[in-house]
Protein backbone atom coordinates (compact mmCIF):
# COMPACT_ATOMS: atom_id res chain seq x y z
CA UNK A 1 0.00 0.00 0.00
CA UNK A 2 1.46 3.31 -1.08
CA UNK A 3 1.34 6.53 0.90
CA UNK A 4 -1.58 7.88 -1.15
CA UNK A 5 -3.79 4.85 -0.66
CA UNK A 6 -2.87 4.79 3.09
CA UNK A 7 -4.01 8.41 3.34
CA UNK A 8 -7.24 7.58 1.47
CA UNK A 9 -7.94 4.66 3.83
CA UNK A 10 -7.23 6.86 6.85
CA UNK A 11 -9.59 9.50 5.51
CA UNK A 12 -12.29 6.89 4.84
CA UNK A 13 -11.83 5.51 8.34
CA UNK A 14 -12.09 9.01 9.83
CA UNK A 15 -15.28 9.68 7.83
CA UNK A 16 -16.76 6.36 8.95
CA UNK A 17 -15.84 7.03 12.57
CA UNK A 18 -17.29 10.54 12.36
CA UNK A 19 -20.43 9.19 10.71
CA UNK A 20 -20.63 6.51 13.37
CA UNK A 21 -20.27 9.12 16.08
CA UNK A 22 -22.89 11.25 14.40
CA UNK A 23 -25.23 8.27 14.15
CA UNK A 24 -24.56 7.52 17.76
CA UNK A 25 -25.35 11.15 18.66
CA UNK A 26 -28.52 11.01 16.57
CA UNK A 27 -29.45 7.75 18.27
CA UNK A 28 -28.75 9.32 21.65
CA UNK A 29 -30.74 12.40 20.66
CA UNK A 30 -33.65 10.27 19.53
CA UNK A 31 -33.42 8.30 22.74
CA UNK A 32 -33.31 11.50 24.83
CA UNK A 33 -36.32 12.96 23.03
CA UNK A 34 -38.12 9.63 23.35
CA UNK A 35 -37.45 9.68 27.07
CA UNK A 36 -38.56 13.30 27.28
CA UNK A 37 -41.86 12.49 25.60
CA UNK A 38 -42.19 9.51 27.91
CA UNK A 39 -41.44 11.85 30.82
CA UNK A 40 -44.17 14.24 29.66
CA UNK A 41 -46.58 11.31 29.65
CA UNK A 42 -45.34 10.31 33.12
CA UNK A 43 -45.70 13.92 34.24
CA UNK A 44 -49.29 13.94 33.02
CA UNK A 45 -49.86 10.72 34.91
CA UNK A 46 -48.40 12.35 37.98
CA UNK A 47 -50.76 15.33 37.55
CA UNK A 48 -53.68 12.94 37.52
CA UNK A 49 -52.26 10.96 40.44
CA UNK A 50 -51.91 14.20 42.39
CA UNK A 51 -55.42 15.27 41.44
CA UNK A 52 -56.80 11.95 42.66
CA UNK A 53 -54.98 12.42 45.96
CA UNK A 54 -56.76 15.70 46.65
CA UNK A 55 -59.66 14.87 48.89
CA UNK A 56 -59.34 16.79 52.17
CA UNK A 57 -59.17 20.47 53.23
CA UNK A 58 -55.40 20.16 53.67
CA UNK A 59 -55.00 19.44 49.95
CA UNK A 60 -55.81 23.01 48.87
CA UNK A 61 -52.58 24.59 47.67
CA UNK A 62 -51.16 27.70 49.33
CA UNK A 63 -52.26 29.70 46.27
CA UNK A 64 -55.82 28.32 46.39
CA UNK A 65 -55.96 29.14 50.11
CA UNK A 66 -54.96 32.70 49.19
CA UNK A 67 -57.76 33.01 46.62
CA UNK A 68 -60.30 31.57 49.07
CA UNK A 69 -59.00 34.03 51.71
CA UNK A 70 -59.25 37.05 49.38
CA UNK A 71 -62.92 36.36 48.74
CA UNK A 72 -63.70 35.59 52.40
CA UNK A 73 -62.01 38.91 53.26
CA UNK A 74 -64.03 40.71 50.55
CA UNK A 75 -67.29 39.31 51.98
CA UNK A 76 -66.27 40.36 55.53
CA UNK A 77 -65.37 43.86 54.28
CA UNK A 78 -68.75 43.97 52.53
CA UNK A 79 -70.43 43.58 55.94
CA UNK A 80 -68.05 45.63 58.08
CA UNK A 81 -66.37 48.71 56.53
CA UNK A 82 -62.61 49.04 56.83
CA UNK A 83 -61.41 51.62 59.34
CA UNK A 84 -59.24 53.90 57.24
CA UNK A 85 -56.76 55.08 59.86
CA UNK A 86 -53.30 54.51 58.35
CA UNK A 87 -51.39 54.97 61.62
CA UNK A 88 -53.65 52.61 63.55
CA UNK A 89 -53.60 49.96 60.80
CA UNK A 90 -49.80 50.19 60.62
CA UNK A 91 -49.54 49.65 64.38
CA UNK A 92 -51.96 46.67 64.27
CA UNK A 93 -49.93 45.25 61.36
CA UNK A 94 -46.70 45.55 63.34
CA UNK A 95 -48.14 43.78 66.40
CA UNK A 96 -49.77 41.10 64.22
CA UNK A 97 -46.67 40.46 62.11
CA UNK A 98 -44.54 40.29 65.27
CA UNK A 99 -46.57 37.37 66.65
CA UNK A 100 -47.02 35.73 63.21
CA UNK A 101 -43.24 35.54 62.99
CA UNK A 102 -43.33 33.16 65.97
CA UNK A 103 -46.04 30.92 64.46
CA UNK A 104 -45.50 27.76 62.42
CA UNK A 105 -46.24 29.78 59.27
CA UNK A 106 -44.22 33.00 59.45
CA UNK A 107 -44.04 32.83 55.65
CA UNK A 108 -47.48 32.70 54.04
CA UNK A 109 -48.47 33.08 50.36
CA UNK A 110 -48.92 36.88 50.19
CA UNK A 111 -47.70 37.79 53.69
CA UNK A 112 -49.73 38.48 56.84
CA UNK A 113 -52.12 41.44 56.70
CA UNK A 114 -54.14 42.99 59.53
CA UNK A 115 -56.99 45.47 59.18
CA UNK A 116 -59.12 47.38 61.69
CA UNK A 117 -62.90 47.40 61.03
CA UNK A 118 -65.11 50.43 61.63
CA UNK A 119 -67.76 48.91 63.88
CA UNK A 120 -68.46 48.98 67.61
CA UNK A 121 -69.31 45.29 67.51
CA UNK A 122 -66.66 43.40 69.51
CA UNK A 123 -65.04 40.91 67.15
CA UNK A 124 -61.90 39.55 65.47
CA UNK A 125 -61.86 37.26 62.45
CA UNK A 126 -59.27 35.55 60.29
CA UNK A 127 -59.68 34.72 56.60
CA UNK A 128 -57.57 31.85 55.24
CA UNK A 129 -54.26 32.96 53.77
CA UNK A 130 -53.43 35.37 56.60
CA UNK A 131 -55.93 38.26 56.23
CA UNK A 132 -56.97 39.19 59.77
CA UNK A 133 -59.57 41.67 61.05
CA UNK A 134 -60.12 43.32 64.41
CA UNK A 135 -63.04 45.65 65.13
CA UNK A 136 -62.88 49.10 66.66
CA UNK A 137 -65.15 47.74 69.42
CA UNK A 138 -62.58 45.13 70.36
CA UNK A 139 -59.63 47.55 70.10
CA UNK A 140 -61.43 49.85 72.56
CA UNK A 141 -61.59 47.04 75.10
CA UNK A 142 -57.94 45.99 74.86
CA UNK A 143 -56.16 47.21 78.00
CA UNK A 144 -52.62 47.01 76.56
CA UNK A 145 -50.35 45.85 73.70
CA UNK A 146 -49.97 42.43 75.33
CA UNK A 147 -53.75 41.84 75.09
CA UNK A 148 -53.90 43.04 71.49
CA UNK A 149 -50.91 40.85 70.57
CA UNK A 150 -52.49 37.77 72.17
CA UNK A 151 -55.86 38.37 70.46
CA UNK A 152 -54.13 38.71 67.08
CA UNK A 153 -52.00 35.63 67.93
CA UNK A 154 -55.26 33.72 68.54
CA UNK A 155 -56.39 34.63 65.00
CA UNK A 156 -52.93 33.79 63.59
CA UNK A 157 -53.33 30.41 65.32
CA UNK A 158 -56.58 29.78 63.39
CA UNK A 159 -54.84 30.54 60.07
CA UNK A 160 -51.62 28.67 60.87
CA UNK A 161 -53.64 25.52 61.63
CA UNK A 162 -55.92 26.11 58.62
CA UNK A 163 -59.06 26.13 60.79
CA UNK A 164 -60.94 28.18 58.17
CA UNK A 165 -60.42 25.48 55.56
CA UNK A 166 -61.42 22.84 58.13
CA UNK A 167 -64.84 24.49 58.36
CA UNK A 168 -65.63 23.62 54.73
CA UNK A 169 -68.17 20.83 54.64
CA UNK A 170 -66.81 17.54 53.31
CA UNK A 171 -69.29 17.51 50.40
CA UNK A 172 -68.10 20.96 49.30
CA UNK A 173 -64.43 19.91 49.51
CA UNK A 174 -65.21 16.90 47.33
CA UNK A 175 -67.15 19.02 44.84
CA UNK A 176 -64.30 21.54 44.72
CA UNK A 177 -61.71 18.94 43.74
CA UNK A 178 -64.09 17.10 41.41
CA UNK A 179 -64.98 20.30 39.53
CA UNK A 180 -61.34 21.41 39.31
CA UNK A 181 -60.58 18.07 37.67
CA UNK A 182 -57.38 16.21 37.07
CA UNK A 183 -55.91 18.13 34.15
CA UNK A 184 -53.25 20.78 34.65
CA UNK A 185 -55.33 23.55 33.08
CA UNK A 186 -55.35 27.14 34.24
CA UNK A 187 -58.05 28.62 32.02
CA UNK A 188 -61.46 27.01 32.22
CA UNK A 189 -64.05 26.78 29.45
CA UNK A 190 -67.48 28.35 30.22
CA UNK A 191 -69.11 25.14 31.44
CA UNK A 192 -66.32 24.09 33.75
CA UNK A 193 -65.83 27.68 34.96
CA UNK A 194 -69.48 27.80 36.05
CA UNK A 195 -69.10 24.54 37.96
CA UNK A 196 -65.79 25.50 39.62
CA UNK A 197 -67.23 28.92 40.58
CA UNK A 198 -70.29 27.25 42.12
CA UNK A 199 -67.94 25.03 44.15
CA UNK A 200 -65.93 28.13 45.14
CA UNK A 201 -69.16 29.78 46.29
CA UNK A 202 -70.00 26.73 48.43
CA UNK A 203 -66.55 26.84 50.04
CA UNK A 204 -66.88 30.57 50.79
CA UNK A 205 -70.37 30.12 52.24
CA UNK A 206 -69.12 27.49 54.70
CA UNK A 207 -66.18 29.63 55.86
CA UNK A 208 -67.99 32.97 56.13
CA UNK A 209 -70.92 31.27 57.89
CA UNK A 210 -68.49 29.85 60.45
CA UNK A 211 -66.54 33.09 60.95
CA UNK A 212 -69.53 35.41 61.19
CA UNK A 213 -72.49 33.30 62.32
CA UNK A 214 -71.73 29.89 63.80
CA UNK A 215 -68.21 30.15 65.18
CA UNK A 216 -65.62 27.38 65.21
CA UNK A 217 -65.96 24.19 67.16
CA UNK A 218 -64.90 24.87 70.78
CA UNK A 219 -61.98 22.47 70.44
CA UNK A 220 -60.53 24.70 67.69
CA UNK A 221 -61.08 27.85 69.79
CA UNK A 222 -59.17 26.36 72.72
CA UNK A 223 -56.47 25.22 70.31
CA UNK A 224 -56.16 28.81 69.00
CA UNK A 225 -55.91 30.07 72.61
CA UNK A 226 -53.03 27.64 73.24
CA UNK A 227 -51.33 28.87 70.05
CA UNK A 228 -51.84 32.48 71.16
CA UNK A 229 -50.11 31.85 74.50
CA UNK A 230 -47.25 30.04 72.76
CA UNK A 231 -46.71 32.61 69.95
CA UNK A 232 -47.03 35.46 72.46
CA UNK A 233 -44.36 33.95 74.74
CA UNK A 234 -42.03 33.24 71.83
CA UNK A 235 -42.35 36.86 70.69
CA UNK A 236 -41.66 38.22 74.17
CA UNK A 237 -45.21 39.20 75.20
CA UNK A 238 -46.62 38.46 78.64
CA UNK A 239 -49.26 35.79 77.78
CA UNK A 240 -51.37 36.86 80.75
CA UNK A 241 -52.50 39.65 78.41
CA UNK A 242 -55.05 37.21 77.00
CA UNK A 243 -56.39 36.29 80.46
CA UNK A 244 -56.52 40.02 81.37
CA UNK A 245 -58.58 40.74 78.27
CA UNK A 246 -60.92 37.78 78.83
CA UNK A 247 -61.55 38.94 82.42
CA UNK A 248 -62.72 42.33 81.12
CA UNK A 249 -65.27 40.48 79.00
CA UNK A 250 -66.85 38.51 81.85
CA UNK A 251 -70.31 39.90 82.56
CA UNK A 252 -69.99 42.43 79.74
CA UNK A 253 -73.40 43.80 78.79
CA UNK A 254 -72.65 43.40 75.08
CA UNK A 255 -72.79 39.67 75.68
CA UNK A 256 -76.54 39.95 76.08
CA UNK A 257 -76.88 41.03 72.45
CA UNK A 258 -75.20 37.77 71.46
CA UNK A 259 -73.40 39.42 68.56
CA UNK A 260 -69.91 39.13 67.13
CA UNK A 261 -67.30 37.71 69.48
CA UNK A 262 -69.94 36.61 72.02
CA UNK A 263 -71.79 34.64 69.40
CA UNK A 264 -68.81 32.98 67.75
CA UNK A 265 -66.50 32.31 70.72
CA UNK A 266 -66.92 30.23 73.90
CA UNK A 267 -67.80 32.21 77.04
CA UNK A 268 -64.75 34.01 78.47
CA UNK A 269 -65.17 32.29 81.87
CA UNK A 270 -64.63 28.94 80.15
CA UNK A 271 -61.48 30.14 78.42
CA UNK A 272 -59.70 31.86 81.31
CA UNK A 273 -58.90 28.68 83.29
CA UNK A 274 -57.57 26.91 80.22
CA UNK A 275 -55.45 29.90 79.22
CA UNK A 276 -54.05 30.14 82.76
CA UNK A 277 -53.23 26.40 82.76
CA UNK A 278 -51.32 26.84 79.49
CA UNK A 279 -49.42 29.83 80.92
CA UNK A 280 -48.53 27.82 84.04
CA UNK A 281 -47.23 25.03 81.84
CA UNK A 282 -44.93 27.40 79.91
CA UNK A 283 -43.43 29.15 82.98
CA UNK A 284 -41.29 31.23 83.13
CA UNK A 285 -43.01 33.63 80.72
CA UNK A 286 -42.06 37.17 79.62
CA UNK A 287 -43.19 40.17 81.68
CA UNK A 288 -45.03 43.28 80.41
CA UNK A 289 -42.93 46.33 79.46
CA UNK A 290 -43.93 49.95 80.03
CA UNK A 291 -42.58 51.03 76.62
CA UNK A 292 -45.16 48.80 74.91
CA UNK A 293 -48.11 50.04 77.00
CA UNK A 294 -47.12 53.59 76.16
CA UNK A 295 -47.01 53.09 72.38
CA UNK A 296 -50.27 51.09 72.55
CA UNK A 297 -52.06 54.01 74.23
CA UNK A 298 -50.76 56.45 71.70
CA UNK A 299 -51.68 54.22 68.70
CA UNK A 300 -55.25 53.37 69.75
CA UNK A 301 -56.12 56.75 71.27
CA UNK A 302 -57.93 57.69 68.04
CA UNK A 303 -60.60 55.03 68.57
CA UNK A 304 -61.01 55.41 72.33
Amino acid sequence: MNARSRAARALLLAVLLAAGAACSLIDQGTEILGKAEDAVAKGDKAVKAYGKLRSAFGDFTEEEEYYIGRSVAALILGRYPALNDAALNLYVNKVGNAVALSSERPEIFAGWHFQALDTDEVNAMAAPGGMIFITKGLLKRCPDEESLALILAHEVGHVAARHGLQSIRKANVTEAFTSIGLEAIKTYGPEQLARVTAAFEGVLGDIVGTLVERGYDRKLEYEADESAVLFGCRTGYDPAGLARFLKTMVGDMSAVSGKGWFKTHPAPEQRIDRVQAEIDRLQPVPAPAAVRTQRFKSAVSAVR
Binding site: I32, L33, A36, E37, A39, V40, K42, G43, A46, V47, A49, Y50, L53, F60, E62, E63, E64, Y67, R70, S71, A74, L75, L77, G78, A82, N89, N93, K94, N97, A98, L101, S102, E104, P106, E107, I108, F109, A110, H113, Q115, M131, E145, I180, A184, K186, T187, Y188, L193, A194, V196, T197, F200, E201, V203, L204, T235, G236, V291, R292, R295
Partner: protein, 158 residues
Protein backbone atom coordinates in the same frame (compact mmCIF):
# COMPACT_ATOMS: atom_id res chain seq x y z
CA UNK B 1 -37.07 17.68 12.88
CA UNK B 2 -40.74 18.24 12.12
CA UNK B 3 -41.58 19.81 15.47
CA UNK B 4 -38.55 21.72 16.71
CA UNK B 5 -40.58 23.54 19.40
CA UNK B 6 -41.88 20.26 20.74
CA UNK B 7 -38.33 18.89 20.82
CA UNK B 8 -37.01 21.90 22.70
CA UNK B 9 -39.92 21.66 25.12
CA UNK B 10 -39.35 17.94 25.58
CA UNK B 11 -35.62 18.47 26.16
CA UNK B 12 -36.43 21.21 28.69
CA UNK B 13 -38.89 18.95 30.44
CA UNK B 14 -36.25 16.22 30.57
CA UNK B 15 -33.71 18.63 32.02
CA UNK B 16 -36.13 19.57 34.79
CA UNK B 17 -36.89 15.91 35.41
CA UNK B 18 -33.16 15.21 35.75
CA UNK B 19 -32.96 18.02 38.28
CA UNK B 20 -35.85 16.52 40.17
CA UNK B 21 -34.15 13.17 40.15
CA UNK B 22 -31.55 14.64 42.47
CA UNK B 23 -32.56 14.08 46.07
CA UNK B 24 -33.98 16.82 48.29
CA UNK B 25 -35.48 19.13 45.68
CA UNK B 26 -37.83 21.73 47.15
CA UNK B 27 -39.99 24.39 45.52
CA UNK B 28 -41.01 27.83 46.79
CA UNK B 29 -44.75 27.76 47.60
CA UNK B 30 -45.35 31.43 48.42
CA UNK B 31 -45.53 34.47 46.13
CA UNK B 32 -42.07 35.83 46.96
CA UNK B 33 -39.42 35.32 49.60
CA UNK B 34 -35.67 35.46 50.21
CA UNK B 35 -32.83 33.19 51.22
CA UNK B 36 -30.72 34.59 54.02
CA UNK B 37 -27.09 34.37 55.08
CA UNK B 38 -27.97 32.85 58.48
CA UNK B 39 -30.82 30.67 59.76
CA UNK B 40 -32.85 33.60 61.13
CA UNK B 41 -35.18 36.38 60.03
CA UNK B 42 -33.48 39.77 59.65
CA UNK B 43 -30.19 38.12 58.58
CA UNK B 44 -28.75 39.62 55.35
CA UNK B 45 -30.61 38.61 52.17
CA UNK B 46 -28.62 36.44 49.74
CA UNK B 47 -31.20 36.22 46.94
CA UNK B 48 -34.86 36.86 46.16
CA UNK B 49 -37.12 33.96 45.13
CA UNK B 50 -40.60 33.56 43.68
CA UNK B 51 -43.30 30.87 43.68
CA UNK B 52 -42.22 27.72 41.85
CA UNK B 53 -38.46 28.35 42.07
CA UNK B 54 -36.62 25.06 42.61
CA UNK B 55 -34.05 24.71 45.39
CA UNK B 56 -31.73 21.93 46.48
CA UNK B 57 -31.69 21.16 50.18
CA UNK B 58 -28.20 20.95 51.64
CA UNK B 59 -28.83 21.19 55.39
CA UNK B 60 -31.34 21.72 58.20
CA UNK B 61 -31.27 23.67 61.46
CA UNK B 62 -34.55 23.61 63.39
CA UNK B 63 -37.26 25.24 61.26
CA UNK B 64 -34.66 26.55 58.79
CA UNK B 65 -33.42 24.77 55.68
CA UNK B 66 -30.08 25.44 54.02
CA UNK B 67 -30.60 25.49 50.26
CA UNK B 68 -28.83 26.15 46.97
CA UNK B 69 -30.57 28.06 44.15
CA UNK B 70 -30.44 27.18 40.46
CA UNK B 71 -27.90 30.01 40.11
CA UNK B 72 -25.64 28.31 42.66
CA UNK B 73 -26.25 30.72 45.55
CA UNK B 74 -26.68 29.14 48.96
CA UNK B 75 -28.42 30.40 52.07
CA UNK B 76 -31.20 29.67 54.57
CA UNK B 77 -34.97 29.68 54.14
CA UNK B 78 -37.78 29.07 56.66
CA UNK B 79 -39.55 25.75 56.13
CA UNK B 80 -42.95 27.46 55.82
CA UNK B 81 -41.87 28.98 52.48
CA UNK B 82 -41.08 25.71 50.69
CA UNK B 83 -42.50 22.28 50.04
CA UNK B 84 -41.57 18.97 48.52
CA UNK B 85 -42.88 19.06 44.92
CA UNK B 86 -46.43 17.81 45.10
CA UNK B 87 -46.16 15.56 42.02
CA UNK B 88 -43.23 13.77 43.59
CA UNK B 89 -45.43 13.10 46.61
CA UNK B 90 -48.19 11.82 44.36
CA UNK B 91 -45.79 9.55 42.53
CA UNK B 92 -44.37 8.21 45.79
CA UNK B 93 -47.88 7.62 47.15
CA UNK B 94 -48.68 5.71 43.97
CA UNK B 95 -45.71 3.44 44.56
CA UNK B 96 -43.88 4.71 41.49
CA UNK B 97 -40.68 6.70 41.40
CA UNK B 98 -41.84 9.11 38.70
CA UNK B 99 -39.29 11.88 38.48
CA UNK B 100 -41.92 14.52 38.46
CA UNK B 101 -41.55 18.17 39.12
CA UNK B 102 -41.84 19.34 35.53
CA UNK B 103 -45.57 19.67 35.94
CA UNK B 104 -45.14 21.58 39.19
CA UNK B 105 -45.11 24.83 37.24
CA UNK B 106 -48.29 23.73 35.47
CA UNK B 107 -50.01 23.36 38.82
CA UNK B 108 -49.45 27.02 39.68
CA UNK B 109 -52.67 28.83 38.89
CA UNK B 110 -54.69 25.63 38.65
CA UNK B 111 -57.82 25.23 40.73
CA UNK B 112 -59.29 28.23 42.56
CA UNK B 113 -57.53 31.04 40.73
CA UNK B 114 -57.92 34.60 39.43
CA UNK B 115 -60.33 33.49 36.70
CA UNK B 116 -62.61 31.84 39.25
CA UNK B 117 -62.43 34.90 41.54
CA UNK B 118 -63.32 37.21 38.63
CA UNK B 119 -66.28 35.04 37.69
CA UNK B 120 -67.46 35.00 41.33
CA UNK B 121 -67.12 38.80 41.53
CA UNK B 122 -69.52 39.37 38.63
CA UNK B 123 -72.39 37.94 40.68
CA UNK B 124 -71.40 39.35 44.08
CA UNK B 125 -71.35 43.14 44.16
CA UNK B 126 -71.58 42.97 47.97
CA UNK B 127 -68.02 41.61 48.18
CA UNK B 128 -65.62 44.52 48.68
CA UNK B 129 -62.49 43.54 46.74
CA UNK B 130 -61.25 47.14 46.49
CA UNK B 131 -60.76 47.20 50.28
CA UNK B 132 -59.04 43.78 50.15
CA UNK B 133 -56.60 45.08 47.51
CA UNK B 134 -55.88 48.18 49.62
CA UNK B 135 -55.28 45.96 52.65
CA UNK B 136 -52.89 43.71 50.72
CA UNK B 137 -50.98 46.66 49.26
CA UNK B 138 -49.78 47.58 52.74
CA UNK B 139 -46.70 45.38 52.95
CA UNK B 140 -44.79 45.26 56.19
CA UNK B 141 -41.11 45.98 55.61
CA UNK B 142 -38.60 43.81 57.48
CA UNK B 143 -36.80 46.96 58.63
CA UNK B 144 -40.06 48.38 60.10
CA UNK B 145 -40.77 45.14 61.93
CA UNK B 146 -37.23 44.90 63.31
CA UNK B 147 -37.41 48.47 64.59
CA UNK B 148 -40.78 47.75 66.23
CA UNK B 149 -39.45 44.58 67.93
CA UNK B 150 -36.28 46.32 69.13
CA UNK B 151 -38.19 49.32 70.48
CA UNK B 152 -40.63 47.04 72.34
CA UNK B 153 -37.84 44.81 73.71
CA UNK B 154 -39.29 41.83 71.87
CA UNK B 155 -37.61 38.77 70.36
CA UNK B 156 -39.88 37.83 67.46
CA UNK B 157 -38.41 34.63 66.09
CA UNK B 158 -34.82 35.77 66.52
Amino acid sequence: MKHPRKAVLAAGVLAVFCLAAAADVLVVKIQSTQIRAQAQFFAPVVAGLKAGDALTQIGVSGAWIQVRTAAGLSGWIHQSAVEVPRYALAAAAGGTRTQATASEAALAGKGFNKQVEENFRTGHAEADYASVDRMLQNKMLWSQLKEFLDQGKLGGGR
